[in-house]
């Protein structure tokens, strides 16, 4: 378990969390490297299908990030995301996938630090949970 390197997919909204990740880099903060960012215009674009597909293909964790409630660049995309992710969490639980493997976090463009903290915390959680294939 010690050398388990999780595979984490991070969805970022172009306006807030992607910019926060940029800022984290620009500020030379350091984050655990076991993740790759996929950029969408809005967290509202993130289809639960993408997340189930990621888990089916071996993602150990999926992090969905978007603008803070009320700050969505597209008025209310993040509220739709929240509803979808909360319902998806319930379903994941029924599938025996720990709901902690899916995390939803609101990170604004100015929160580079929060981005790094969220990544490190999340990867830490995933490391504790172990690989997704290992929970059969």
């Amino acid at each position: 378990m010690q050398d388990f390197e999780p595979n984490v997919v991070v969805f970022c909204c172009r306006w807030c969390s992607y910019a926060a990740a940029d800022l984290a880099g620009t500020s030379r903060m350091t984050a655990n490297p076991q993740f790759v960012v996929i950029r969408t215009m809005c967290s509202g674009r993130i289809d639960p299908e993408f997340i189930l597909d990621a888990f089916a293909k071996g993602a150990d964790g999926v992090l969905v990030t978007g603008c803070h409630p009320g700050d969505c660049h597209y008025v209310n995309g993040n509220y739709k995301t929240r509803r979808r992710m909360l319902l998806l969490e319930e379903v994941l639980e029924q599938f025996g996938i720990d709901r902690k493997r899916l995390r939803c976090e609101w990170i604004s463009a100015s929160e580079g630090g929060k981005f790094v903290k969220t990544i490190d915390e999340f990867i830490g959680t995933i490391k504790k949970l172990g690989p997704i294939d290992g929970i059969k």
Partner: protein
């Protein structure tokens, strides 16, 4: 099509190269399916770097380009332009962010290198499925509609008209001017409101680029940015304005008197009337509700006295249609009704008036010719109490917001009262004094120091009548004592609310309002005069309570956004929008509930319900796509297949 993708890896000096082993990256990517060329350079964004990409696109006949460098926020446009210069569609170029998201944020060279390779592969997969796109373009009708003829609408219409574009100005009452025409003098300069407003009203009426529809309302709006169709209802005035010269004889002879709206009920008007003497246009209308002929079938006095035959009792509402490219909504405000405030008598006491009524008492052209006489008995009030925050800042019972202008106009009222009644005693009850405009604080100080207006910090809990006098119960919270004050007149600084009927109008315009009914701006800081619907702009108190300078500034800002649009040949729009596979769409309509821009619409095509996309309104957020139950809706260059391929690449080991 067989993909021939070129990958260009930037060192960014040592910014990338010190953490990511560029050579290893290039070697790994070269082998990746679909990649026919991989190359690195110190500064890809420099002239030689750009030149290299241009040359390789041609030499290697590339079908797609991935620039692995900094964040796309920085240089996506740069490299898409480079790609376009080589004749390859710019949307076939994407950036892989290996600087901010990799070399800068990670320290371990091996891990960062592996990650950079993965990021690049992920973007290569995206580019493989990218379509060739061209920005959408839509023609613009370069005429504007301004709704509301108050100072905001007047300013906005004049700005646009003066820039050389046609303006349709629609005003629901028979004269433009709005509330500003009712005001006596304006803070903080005390210049006469009419004197600064009426010249602008006349300018509107005479402007060759402005078509004024007074006594008219918006009946229907269709279309979208650049191409709105507006149906305007011209309300029947029962007077042929083309014949009427405004002699006023009909008004003089009309036997019916009703309370004048313009005078806030403090003076009568006739059933055929012009709202105020300086009205523009200065033509009468018949108030059908009160006209004796319409009520009883007998009278027609106005018709008899009109030598010009201008009275037309059989007139009906008429409709006109106008095509415009942009709309400015400047529908203004109304004063929250005193009847809502039970503890202040709910309108039962004649001598408890609101701010606008007091404006009329102060006005030289008002019912008392500018002498301050109280409504009940015409006496000059010796002691006047002014109460601020009535209905405002009261989230439990009334309006939660600050109405912004009351502190200032109550100071002005008290000051002007003192000027007219030098031995009178003005007392202002306040919670906080908000005087944050230019010269405003000085103005309040002047009221206190030069005009000896008494300020008492305390909310008024009750007002009642006793022996022809008004009794106010309050507390002086600074001195910590209860107050019972007898006075002759009370002026209430009532909350400001959006005009009635705005709700209906916003539905027609498909723009949004906040919880208080004020129009919602597209962004509270960066897009304060745009609505969320492209091509519709907002100005004045329809947006939030504001004073005249702020209203005029916002009106001009809205005009400048209209002019920015009209300055373009046609409207250009990002092509990364939603699209629908009509063979798969079942017309379930889920997308329609999801779109914040009303870009999704159900249409009947060959008898089938199909949810279409109005591309020009689509901002490409993709929430309708994620919500589409059938997968029938996709986003250009970020479709489900692309995301799924990207996820798969992220998860591939090795």
């Amino acid at each position: 099509m067989k993909q021939r993708i070129g990958v260009f890896v930037c060192h960014c000096g040592i910014n990338i190269a010190s953490t990511v082993q560029i050579e290893r990256v290039v070697e790994a990517i070269k082998e990746y399916p679909g990649v026919v060329h991989a190359e690195d350079y110190e500064y890809m964004c420099s002239d030689p770097g750009q030149g290299m990409i241009r040359a390789r696109i041609k030499e290697k006949n590339l079908t797609g380009v991935v620039v692995a460098a900094c964040s796309p926020t920085l240089h996506e446009l740069t490299f898409r332009n480079v790609t376009a210069l080589s004749g390859l569609n710019p949307y076939r170029c994407e950036m892989a962010n290996i600087r901010e998201h990799c070399s800068w944020i990670h320290k371990d060279v091996d891990k960062a290198t592996k990650k950079a390779i993965k990021i690049i592969k992920t973007i290569v997969e995206k580019v493989k499925l990218n379509e060739e796109l061209t920005p959408l373009s839509v023609p613009i009708t370069k005429r504007a509609l301004v709704i509301g003829g108050g100072i905001a609408g007047i300013q906005s219409a004049l700005d646009i008209a003066n820039a050389g574009y046609q303006v349709i100005l629609v005003e629901k009452s028979s004269s433009i001017g709005g509330h500003m025409a009712q005001l006596s003098e304006t803070f903080p300069t005390l210049d006469c409101s009419q004197c600064i407003l009426t010249p602008k009203m006349v300018e509107v009426a005479q402007h060759k680029n402005i078509k004024l529809y007074n006594y008219a309302e918006i009946d229907d709006v269709s279309g979208y940015v650049g191409n709105f169709k507006v149906k305007i209802r011209l309300k029947a005035s029962y007077v042929d304005w083309s014949k009427c010269v405004g002699c006023g004889l009909c008004i003089e002879k009309c036997p019916t008197k009703v309370a004048s709206e313009f005078e806030q009920g403090l003076a009568p008007r006739k059933a055929i009337y012009v709202p105020f003497p300086q009205a523009v246009p200065n033509k009468p209308v018949i108030d059908r509700e009160h006209c004796r002929y319409f009520k009883t079938g007998k009278c027609r006095v106005c018709e008899k006295v009109c030598d010009l035959d201008a009275i037309k009792f059989d007139e009906e509402d008429d409709f006109v249609e106008e095509e415009v490219g942009a709309i400015v909504v400047a529908t203004g405000y109304e004063v929250y009704g005193v009847q809502n405030i039970g503890e202040y008598g709910a309108g039962r006491y004649k001598d408890v008036v609101d701010g606008l009524q007091f404006e009329r008492l102060l006005s030289a052209s008002g019912p008392t010719n500018g002498e301050i006489r109280r409504p009940s008995d015409g006496q000059i009030p010796r002691r006047v109490a002014f109460v601020s925050c009535v209905g405002s800042r009261d989230p439990e019972l009334h309006k939660p917001y600050c109405s912004k202008v009351c502190c200032m106009y109550l100071a002005k009222h008290a000051m002007l009262y003192k000027h007219r009644v030098p031995d009178g005693q003005p007392i202002i009850f306040y919670i906080d004094i908000r005087s944050d405009g230019k010269g405003y604080e000085e103005f309040v100080q002047r009221a206190q120091e030069e005009d000896h207006v008494t300020y008492i910090r305390g909310k008024v809990s009750k007002i009642y009548e006793d022996n022809g006098e008004l009794v106010l119960l309050s507390a002086d919270t600074l001195a910590g004592m209860p107050i019972e004050l007898r006075c002759d007149l009370v002026v209430l600084g009532m909350a400001i609310c959006p005009s009635s009927g705005v709700d209906e109008l916003t539905k027609k315009l498909k723009i949004q309002t906040d919880a208080n009914g004020f129009l919602t701006e597209a962004h509270p800081k960066l897009r304060p005069v745009e609505s969320l619907t492209p091509g519709i702009f907002i100005a004045g108190c329809a947006h939030a309570p504001k004073d005249i300078p702020d209203t005029v500034a916002q009106a001009s800002a809205a005009s400048s956004k209209v002019l920015e649009m009209f300055g373009q040949k046609e409207l250009s729009h990002d092509p990364m929008v939603a699209w629908v596979d009509e063979d798969l769409c079942s017309g379930c309509g889920v997308c329609i509930s999801l779109c914040p821009y009303d870009a999704r619409e159900l249409e009947i095509k060959e008898g089938k319900r199909i949810a279409t996309v109005k591309e020009i309104l689509c901002e490409g957020c993709g929430s309708c796509i994620a919500g589409c139950p059938a997968g029938a809706c996709q986003q250009r260059n970020l479709d489900d297949k692309q995301v799924i391929r990207m996820v798969e690449t992220v998860l591939s080991r090795g």
